[in-house]
């Protein structure tokens, strides 16, 4: 089964056309994001599809996909919660926010996806918003000065189907929609 619908395959061709002729390989990251927006992560089928679009081997695509943490090559929750614990955030209490995220989503040990399939929590390196430490991203939308209590509230509202309003801009519906935006196919706000 192809991962991309005929409509998305057309979009894939448009993504390739962003680059000069003969340089379509440059489209590999946006194409991986596009596949991720359909599958919720990038499966072997997804890797194969991208390799077909770019006339590469699956291994060449896998080599690139595995280098980048935002391309998820393992099962992933509907929402990805990234908690920065680098120095600026740690100085403002990020460690307790990270613990709160794991507690609220009931993620334990090495589990990458919560039992209800809703969450993946990622201990993140600097997210480039240190003035608002501790910083959390939900599907790459920023939440500023997050406390453990606020972290629990965010998880609760995601559970009830509301994406909480981020500090700036609008929240993607979920990780899939965020991936579509990252492919450059989210539409201009």
């Amino acid at each position: 089964m192809p991962v991309l619908s005929p409509e998305l395959r057309e979009r894939a061709e448009a993504i390739k056309a962003r680059f000069p002729k003969g340089r379509e390989r440059s489209a590999i990251l946006p194409l991986l994001y596009l596949v991720q927006s359909v599958e919720g992560w990038v499966t072997r089928d997804g890797l194969r599809e991208v390799s077909g679009l770019l006339d590469l081997t699956t291994a060449e695509v896998a080599a690139v996909a595995s280098f980048y943490t935002m391309i998820r090559t393992r099962p992933t929750g509907r929402h990805v919660i990234s908690v920065c614990t680098n120095l600026s955030c740690a100085l403002r209490g990020a460690e307790t926010v990270y613990e709160a995220a794991n507690r609220a989503t009931s993620l334990e040990g090495d589990r990458e996806v919560s039992a209800d399939g809703l969450f993946t929590v990622h201990e993140e390196e600097c997210l480039g918003a240190c003035d608002a430490a501790p910083v959390v991203q939900v599907d790459f939308a920023n939440h500023d000065r997050v406390t453990p209590e606020r972290m629990a509230e965010i998880v609760e509202s995601l559970r009830s189907g509301d994406a909480p309003a981020p500090a700036r801009g609008t929240a993607p519906e979920d990780f899939r929609e965020a991936s579509r935006i990252l492919a450059g196919e989210g539409g201009v706000p």
């Binding site: 291994a59 896998a62 100085l91 403002r92 240190c130 991203q137 201009v188």
Partner: protein
């Protein structure tokens, strides 16, 4: 006050829209540049003394002048918006609040070197800034500042926004180009430098966001005006990102050479809760910590270097008297271990071991010989990596060992942190992450 150049529009939120941007003087510099010869634009930027704001401080106009015009290949401008140095967040805000200023600077740069394409490599995690820029690009096309015959000239230029996917190393310009070409983001051997052989082996200028944001102002007000701001060898202003233990964290644009004390006290409101300053990075996690002894250091390339550190990206992370410097070093070195691309042994192995040794000292499980071991490890890493990522990892380790040796020794002697009182067992020992996926099958490898 010449304090605010690139952040001047931040008080007016509507200037994210092109109409308002134009009404506040936007795209005037571009129109002026299009009436000049490209080489005159380069000369103007050269004469201004503008130096790259991404960390290395290389003179921007000189970089542009290295681009050969007779290769028969296209030339490219690549905007480095892969801002990921811990503590740094000025590029993000420059884009979020004034995206057209960046575009205008990038278009002028492209015109100067004769490039028909600009690629903006935007950090993936910058979902919102990326959207703001996408919107600005769309407006630029609508209003005729991008595309064919821009601003009624004969010059054509296109801008493509490209998102990265969570790799700090792609901020290194040659790794960025590898990534933009669709490969793993690993640095390239230099020379050849990107100005000669960059994107698709063609001459390419890679510039930082803040650098390009300065360009329209230099073209509009002239090189002499710009050179009169700041210090002789570090002209202009710098946007400092101040975070950590301060009352008012944020981005503050100050004239180069401003004493750190002024930035800390007058702009960032001083140390949080009136505590005492203990340590600060002048330019992000990869620049050696300075201490309370250094509050009068001027914030410019030369003065900071003379004090034993680097201006870097202008990211000031402030630690107070209640913060453990071994922990600070461990967190920063962990970042480099995580972000090491794995290409060279020095970095891949050196950072990994450094985190382990720092971790056990922090946890009160260190041995007396760990301190000389860390110093030795640092000496063997510094300058011996394929790129400078490994040097960034040495900075926090080496500088905290130098300034806070007592604190390290007390950790080992007392078996717990002398600052916070915490001892072993408060956090799990970090083990390396082993990939859990099955390898690809042979048929997948082949096709």
């Amino acid at each position: 006050m010449t304090d605010r150049i690139v952040t001047a529009r931040w008080g007016e939120p509507d200037t994210v829209w092109i109409d308002r941007y134009i009404r506040t003087g936007g795209y005037r510099a571009l129109k002026k540049a299009l009436k000049m010869a490209p080489v005159e634009v380069i000369e103007e930027v050269k004469a201004s003394g503008l130096r790259g704001r991404g960390g290395a401080g290389f003179p921007t106009g000189v970089k542009w002048s290295f681009v050969p015009q007779d290769t028969g290949k296209p030339t490219y401008v690549v905007v480095n918006l892969d801002e990921s140095e811990p503590g740094t967040f000025n590029n993000r805000e420059l884009v979020e609040r004034d995206p057209h200023q960046l575009l205008e600077g990038a278009i002028i740069a492209a015109y100067a070197i004769g490039a028909g394409s600009v690629f903006v490599y935007c950090r993936g995690e910058f979902l919102w800034p990326g959207l703001v820029l996408e919107r600005a690009i769309a407006e630029g096309y609508e209003k005729g500042f991008l595309g064919k015959g821009i601003a009624r000239s004969k010059y054509d230029v296109d801008v493509v926004l490209h998102r990265g996917a969570g790799a700090y190393i792609c901020g290194e310009e040659t790794a960025l180009l590898e990534s933009l070409e669709g490969f793993r983001g690993q640095p390239r051997q230099r020379p050849p430098f990107p100005a000669v052989e960059g994107l698709y082996s063609a001459p390419t200028v890679v510039n930082n966001v803040e650098t390009l944001c300065n360009v329209p102002h230099i073209i509009e007000n002239g090189a002499a005006w710009y050179a009169s701001i700041g210090t002789e060898r570090s002209p202009g202003t710098k946007v400092f990102s101040v975070s950590g233990k301060v009352e008012r964290p944020g981005n503050f644009e100050v004239e180069m050479g401003t004493p750190f004390e002024v930035l800390l006290e007058e702009r960032a409101g001083g140390v949080l809760g009136g505590k005492r300053l203990k340590a600060w990075t002048p330019g992000g996690s990869s620049t050696p910590f300075l201490t309370a002894e250094h509050v009068d250091v001027g914030l410019d390339f030369e003065s900071i270097q003379a004090a034993g550190s680097l201006l870097g990206t202008g990211a000031v992370i402030v630690c107070d008297e209640a913060d453990c410097m071994v922990e600070a070093a461990r967190r920063l070195v962990r970042f480099y271990a995580h972000e090491s691309c794995g290409k060279c042994t020095t970095c891949r192995e050196g950072t990994w071991w450094a985190v382990r040794v720092l971790g056990r000292v922090e946890d009160g499980l260190g041995r007396p010989e760990d301190l000389p071991l860390l110093a030795d490890l640092g000496r063997n890493m510094l300058g011996r990596g394929f790129c400078v990522l490994v040097d960034g990892a040495v900075s926090p380790m080496e500088s905290t060992l130098r300034f806070f040796r007592d604190e390290y020794e007390a950790h080992v002697r007392e078996g717990r942190c002398p600052v916070t009182g915490e001892g072993p067992g408060r956090r799990p020992i970090e083990e390396p992450v082993v990939p859990t996926e099955a390898p690809l099958s042979l048929s997948e490898v082949l096709g």
